[in-house]
Symmetry: C2
Subunit: 266 residues, 2 copies
Amino acid sequence: MKQYCVDNGSFKLEDYHPGDTNGFNGGKEAALKELEHLGERLSSLQNLLYAEKRHKLLVVLQALDAGGKDGTIRVVFDRVNPTGVKVANFGVPSEEERAHDYLWRIHQRAPAKGEMVIFNRSHYEDVLVARVRKLVPKEVWQQRYRHIREFERMLSDEGCTILKFFLYVSKDEQKKRLQERLDDPEKRWKFRKGDLEDRALWKEYMQAYQDAIRETSTDYAPWYVIPADHNWFRNWLVSKIIVETLEGLKMEFPQPEENLEGIKIK
Amino acid sequence: MKQYCVDNGSFKLEDYHPGDTNGFNGGKEAALKELEHLGERLSSLQNLLYAEKRHKLLVVLQALDAGGKDGTIRVVFDRVNPTGVKVANFGVPSEEERAHDYLWRIHQRAPAKGEMVIFNRSHYEDVLVARVRKLVPKEVWQQRYRHIREFERMLSDEGCTILKFFLYVSKDEQKKRLQERLDDPEKRWKFRKGDLEDRALWKEYMQAYQDAIRETSTDYAPWYVIPADHNWFRNWLVSKIIVETLEGLKMEFPQPEENLEGIKIK
C-alpha cells in the first residue's frame, strides 16, 4: 500500500497515474474476487470497532466531479452495519455554516468512539474550491493548512484514526463519465453546469490538490493517492488500506459479564 | 488593563493578588458609577456587533467554585440584547460528549458572525479538573495545551476575537463564600459536597491554572488574571477590558439601502 501513501514534503501529483493498476498482482477478475473477501473482513472489523467502543475511524474522500466518491462509498462499505457507520456529505455551506469558521460543521460530524465516519468531500474543499474559485483571499486559504494539520492532530491524539483518499482520475476519464451522465436519463440529475466550469479549471485544481496533499499529509493523518480511472482497482485499493489499518488497531471484543458460562435460557 | 494581561512565558500566579484593586483609580462608589457607563457602552457595542455581522466575540470565564463566574455574567452583561448574546455552560460532559474528543462540544458553541458567546467554564476544564482529579493520564492533558492554542488560533484567524478571564479569588474568600452558600437557604442549592474535595486540592488547582495560563496565553487569545475578591473591582475590570476590545474593532453599521432619504411612511 505504501507506494500510494504520501509521506514526504516533495510530493508531486505527476508521479502518480490515474490509470495505474500495478499495485494489484493480477487482473480485474481476481481483484473483484479479493474485494469480496475484503468486504467480509471490513464488515467483521466494523462490528468489532462498534463493540469495543475504544477507537474512532475517519475516512476522508476527495475527488473532482465524477471522480467516483459515491461509487466508492457504495461498493467499499457495501456490507457494514449502518448503525455504526455514518456518511457525512459536505455540500455548499448553509448560511448558518458560513457564519461560523469552516471547521465548525466538520467537527460536529467527527466520529465518536466505536464509529466509522466517511466524509464525502470535507474541510479540504476550503483549500480547494475556496482557492480555485477565489472565494477567499490567498492569506486566508494559506493559513488553513496549519489549522487542518492541527485539527487532525487533535482528533488523532484523542483516539481517532484518520485515512484520507484522493481519488485521482484523468481528464479523459472525467470527460467520458460526464458525457455518460448527460446521456443517461437516470444519471442526468447528477450533472450540474458548474461541473463544466470546474473542468475548465482542471490545471488549477490539480495544483490546489497537490499543495493541499503536500501540506497536510502527516503520519497521524496520511493522504493516499488512489489511481481511479479503473473502478475495480480503486475499490480494491481503498478497501485494502482500510482493512489493513483496522487490523493494525489490535481491537478486542469487550469482556462479557462474569459467570455467564453454563447458563441455560428458559 | 495591561498589568492584568498575561503576555509572557514566565507567568507566575503569585505575582497577582486576589484582593488587588490598584487598577482602578478611586474606590468602590466611583467604580460602580463607571460600571454603569461601561454597561451602556457594552450594550451599544453589542448592538453594533450584531448589526455589522462581521466579527465574533468569545469570552471565556474560568474560576474555582464560588469564584464569581455567574455573578460576573449577571452584572457585566446586564444590558445586552439576548438575541445576539449566548451563554454556554459546560458542566460534567454527557455520555455522547465523552464519546467524542473534548473540543467537540466546545466548538459547537463557538460564536457565529455578529454573536457574543460567553463560556461559563470551557475546554480549559480538560487541562484543569481532568489533570487535578486524574481523569486522564499526564501524556493526555499535556498534549492538550497545543490543541487548545491551535484551536484558538484557527478561531481567531477565521474572525473571532477571544478574551479569557481567570477570576482569581483567595482561599479565605472562597471559605467565606462557600459558608454563605451553606447558610443561605436561597443559595444552598449551589453547594455540592464535591466543592470541598476541590477546595482540599487548592494547591494542585493553582498549579494547574498557572500552567494552563502560561501555556495558552497568546496574542490572539490572551488570558487576563482578574483579582476577584472584590466583586466591584472584578466587574469593573472585566467590563472595561471587553468594552475596550470591542472599541478596537472599529465596527460600523452596514450601509442602509439607497434612496431612503425623504421617504415618508404613509
